[in-house]
Symmetry: D2
Subunit: 432 residues, 4 copies
């Protein structure tokens, strides 16, 4: 049994009861997300990025087995040696990986066998948490369990977005769940909120859990700026479409224009025009687009073009974070069960900004790069974030598929600028 240094989260609860409760909760939510699926739905990988639900179920389980059970349970016997290969996403230090674009071509293990795999790992984890010596739980193992729980939460969001995508390519328009999405009132008029410039402190203080890409906390100079009181709505984006936004090359980054033309984009992902009205695929079926809801499923390229058309810009991640620190951590998150963004509501008393958390991830104009002094975690889990720090843009704030306990003001999500299948939207900014 290796005695590695603890991961550098401070002040996280490492008592077995809390750890086990968090573990169980994460595992339960994952399975609840999959509950409405037919066995066939678990299989689909309609694009490389959108892994089959079955693969997610196995992969998050593999994470606990590989980084905890195999390392810290004496005499542990893997459930199936081939799973180490099938369910490894991209951890080179954990061995070779089954070719990602082919995850949907594997019919075994069956869905039932994957649930069995989950059950076995849950039992082993329960044993380990109950029986491991306290110094391990307070040290690396406790940290790894917390990391594994957060990892599974990330995949909860990916399960939602990937299921949405994988059902969307079917001309039968399958409905994931028959949940009523409320009809929304018109959005509150957009206000511009002023924030002070100065040397601001950015990043996580390592009290409680955070991912390594949120460290280290550091100083950054931010000029005074304005931030929109809420994200862009569908009605506002329809104005862009109607103004020929997808045909005006001057509004687009060069790579964005090329991508958009090659892919044939004329609206956000999932939108289709029928008889002059916009419809879109949702988790509740094929529905008319609600003009009052927040815009979603746009790429960075579209977000950037939209901002340019409005003579505004996207915020930097430092601006966003500085503003977010003053806002309450609440919103339309995974727990609402809608898996769909809501509308641009009026400001609540005493609140400057609306919808900073939940509903839609907000594209920033910041490239995803290491913070000054960044060091990845030691060991295999060091492959978690750092090696992706090129050619991606930062998104902030969580979405309607993000668990509440998973999001925080310092949280850095990241996707390539052409990604559209996440719940990604736009909040405008401007120089003060």
């Amino acid at each position: 049994m290796k005695e590695l240094p603890k991961l550098p989260f401070q002040g996280v609860p490492t008592d077995p009861a809390t750890l086990f409760a968090d573990y169980q909760q994460a595992r339960k939510v994952t399975e609840a997300i999959c509950a409405p699926l037919e066995i066939e739905d678990y299989m689909v990988q309609a694009m490389t990025d959108a892994s089959p639900a079955r693969w997610h179920l196995g992969h998050v389980t593999w994470f606990f087995e590989t980084f905890i059970l195999k390392e810290y349970t004496p005499g542990y016997k893997p459930v199936n040696d081939v799973y180490a290969y099938l369910f490894n996403s991209y951890y080179n230090s954990a061995g070779p990986q089954f070719y990602r674009p082919h995850r949907g071509l594997i019919s075994r293990p069956t869905v039932k066998q994957v649930y069995d795999y989950r059950k076995q790992i849950d039992e082993h984890m329960a044993d380990l948490i109950e029986t491991a010596p306290p110094h391990l739980m307070e040290g690396l193992v406790g940290s790894l369990i917390i990391l594994g729980v957060n990892h599974e939460q990330q995949h909860q969001e990916l399960l939602v977005t990937d299921i949405k995508y994988n059902l969307s390519v079917n001309p039968l328009h399958p409905v994931y769940q028959k949940v009523n999405i409320p009809s929304l009132p018109p959005a509150a008029p957009l206000r511009w909120v002023h924030f002070e410039g100065g040397l601001h402190t950015i990043g996580h203080d390592a009290q409680g859990f955070a991912f390594d890409n949120e460290w280290p906390r550091h100083q950054a100079y931010v000029a005074p700026f304005l931030l929109a009181s809420r994200p862009v709505t569908n009605a506002e984006f329809m104005e862009f479409i109607e103004a020929g936004g997808y045909e005006r090359v001057d509004l687009w980054l060069s790579a964005g224009w090329r991508t958009m033309k090659e892919q044939g984009w004329q609206a956000p992902l999932y939108w289709e025009k029928h008889d002059g009205l916009w419809w879109h695929h949702t988790m509740s079926g094929f529905l008319p687009v609600d003009q009052n809801a927040l815009l979603c499923h746009v790429s960075y390229y579209e977000a950037d073009a939209y901002a340019r058309w409005r003579d505004k810009r996207l915020p930097t991640e430092e601006e966003w974070e500085f503003a977010a620190l003053r806002q309450p951590l609440q919103g339309n998150l995974l727990e609402s069960g809608l898996y769909h963004p809501l509308g641009g509501t009026s400001p609540r008393a005493g609140q400057e900004l609306e919808h900073m958390f939940g509903d839609v991830w907000e594209w920033t104009k910041s490239a995803y790069l290491p913070y000054p002094g960044f060091q990845p975690l030691q060991g295999s889990v060091g492959e978690y974030n750092g090696k992706f720090m090129v050619n991606q843009m930062v998104l902030r704030g969580g979405s309607c598929a993000t668990p509440l306990s998973h999001i925080r003001p310092t949280y850095r999500n990241f996707f390539p600028p052409d990604a559209r299948w996440q719940f990604s939207g736009v909040r405008l900014a401007d120089d003060a």
Copy 2:
């Protein structure tokens, strides 16, 4: 109800009892082939050519619904309008087709729903056969039913070959069925059988069912030739491999060499070398290659290169057919339930050639072209064969996945020269 001329099969039984028995038998065999599958197995399309089992189940049913029920059942209501799109393979006259490479990305209709679809169509077909006026059954409808049965038999073979391929890409080596494949004695020594040259009659006489590509019967001059008494065995092909056959550019067609190098072929499809021994994926699992069995899963390019290495050649389809007319129609066909070729047995008393039918399709050196005077069937079913008559080679004789009642000496199968996932093997020929 249209009154089209009968399809040009003469002497086929069109009494309702026989038609219904043939129909039921075909439908039953299809489902029996799928019986061992898990629901997940029905979903996989591991390459564009290898459609999911679920799609085959739906498509053969769509064939009866589209070309018979929709046309000849008064007031017929389709089971689901979208199926016309999802289950159309390539019949442009029957409307647009769902994009073929994406057949594995569709999770609905579920497998259960597809079986329900089959059941509904079976009931409608039973009604139609029972109640349709005799002139229809003796005419076009009877012919279309026979065509539909033969169509479903073709897909029985494709079900076997596609299931085999779709399970093969899984590192868990799933077993389709635990059937014991007999261990084989060494093949009989290869004899060269002499056939007379002359003006031979080629093609089907239109007495009984045949596909349109077997018509019209016509004259062709064939020079005297020799035909090998049996197809090539694995042992013989291993000699080719060991002699560097896959590295000798002089043995290959230019396009074959390029394809082989691009695809990285070093042996027949499914073969892998472990510790100096060849293993291969079979319907009964991952097994050692039996040297005494007939060679299978080679492309035309490999067949042609092998023949050149032996200073022989492949037969033309006219030679093959002329020789086959004198052989009994028997062999290791679908009914054996093995779905695996057997060995090069000794000649039975009075028989010149062995294994002409069943075991493996035999590549000929004939391009797949229309016979002189060829006319495709009228109507949509005219898209069945004729439009594929370019860039393909003819194979003859049926395989271990071909139903006995489906094969005949005049039968022309065809695949592109790089296809390997069919049960395709090699019989050598030579000039006399």
Copy 3:
């Protein structure tokens, strides 16, 4: 010096004077074709198939150097060792080959250096022809010289077609030569000429030069047939276009339809519609399409679709050859200097068929396959033809870019069914 058997041409003149005259003539014509080019024009390879003129000049020279001088001139020193690599097309037995799609990326040797290379080889060849012992000239060397001359003639045609293509992609519409293309009278009405069926003799008798793919002479049964008195004209093909021929899926082979849609074909290669009139790129510049000229630059797919639309078919190569044997060997060939097909003239007295030779190659419905008993030439030159015998269709009759001394009734040209940059047209046939 190797003493190989003579190539199997009988009755070819092998006296030094004739050989040298033929050699010199071929070399001169090649250079005359290039005379109008700017140095820059020699460089372009606008698609993989259309090699740069400079490469052709080098390659035909390399052929003499590699297969004759290096083998039969004692102590021969190659002009430049790298040329063996740069100018080898596809002769694996002669060593590795520079990557074909990159022939246009090589700026050295310069055009001047390639002409110097030609001159040096010409001097060596003159020496060899003058000084080689008679048994060599009467034997293999003489045969190889004749082969090399015919090889260079083939590349004369390719020079014309490749230059045409390589200039066509330039929006400045460069003119290769300012030769006046005559304005043509309306084509003679199409007549159907009847030919007897029977066991016909097909292929070359090996008296005089022929390529190995024309051997051996053999018997083939041909049913009685009708052949159109002349090829299709542009006016006739415009009717096909106007009748929606490019939009009627029922007219096309499946692979043809797919190719045509992927490539965006809506007319023959080089045709563009401006203000309701068809124009096309020619060797004499960008000109209106003359309706009375013979159709050119269509693929096999278009030829086949056109024939189906007319309820006719293409001839087989056996039919074509049988008919051609009775026609005079004359026509609008390379020597006319037009490099452009002319019109469908009226029959001359006593002539059944018009334009069998020259103007446009005529697609047949025969796949390019070995004749019964085919053996490629021995040695490296055996790679000339045989290894391309798959996935190609036969064309017959030569074109406006074929030298008169190069064409004959048995000549088999071959291209993939999607090729359009050759001077390829259509002559219809029908069952008698």
Copy 4:
């Protein structure tokens, strides 16, 4: 004639004599770079990024014609209307652009015609500069001339790098120039120079010419840091190769590893190992790699992996600029005529850092993004920089192909992280 506001360069000389001298100098240098080329060399585009020399010659000329002559010369007639299309790189507001990957497929205008084009534009520009009213020259036209001169200087560097690449694919190893590259002494040991942290001023002050991406000058917080006294040498990078740097996945960004494996990189671009020694293609031919010279032709991915292997990092562009402001603007630049990086020389008296300017561009770890408050230039020239601000990394300092008058401490060059054909090297940094 439009009266647009002046471009925002302050303090640039706009008297006709100076403008004309700068113009003439830039034009002369461009042609001097091309002087050693054969006509054939002008044609090659061996990859999409490496435009033919002829295209560069035309494009920089088009820039003056399009943005100055067409706008500000009354009654101006374009030299050739098609040039507006052929020589437009990416200025959508100036009309459509000939397809970039096909620039090497255009044989006309000939090289001579392009030089004629240059001459005509030079005459028009001389007229304009001589005769335009002072308010225009002091205003927009003067600014545009200065922009055009700087644009041409950028293409001087691209001419060198593209010529180098385009000659490199030729197995004959063409030599651009027979200039002797000095043999170098061992590099000075690497020292670490400490720089103070604090709120630093970054960007150009708009006194004199700068590109819009260098504006606006702004504040940025920079923590204390260390910078290597010189860039990495070939000897140092060979240690990385020998230590298996190209095989250690843990050293690489995920996208870098994938790119490197797909492209088969095992060393910097142009390096080849023969008999255990590294050789490389240079402008002076195929030569042994001088261990003492500065490393060149590496991608960002390689730069980043190398730094990780040394437990260091790349500098940010703010760090680099802050350090560079204190260094003399001198180095091995275009004017040396070597077009090849020299060695890691010893520090000159009183100089902290060596080789900050010239030799090799230095990859920074900064993504290429707009500075706070960035506004692109107005009009077509606004497409110059801003629309490329995604998926690229910043390089600083100029190279052996950069004109001295073109480089400055604030200059931001940018390329995608996989680009290797520029003279790009590595200077390490570290946290203080």
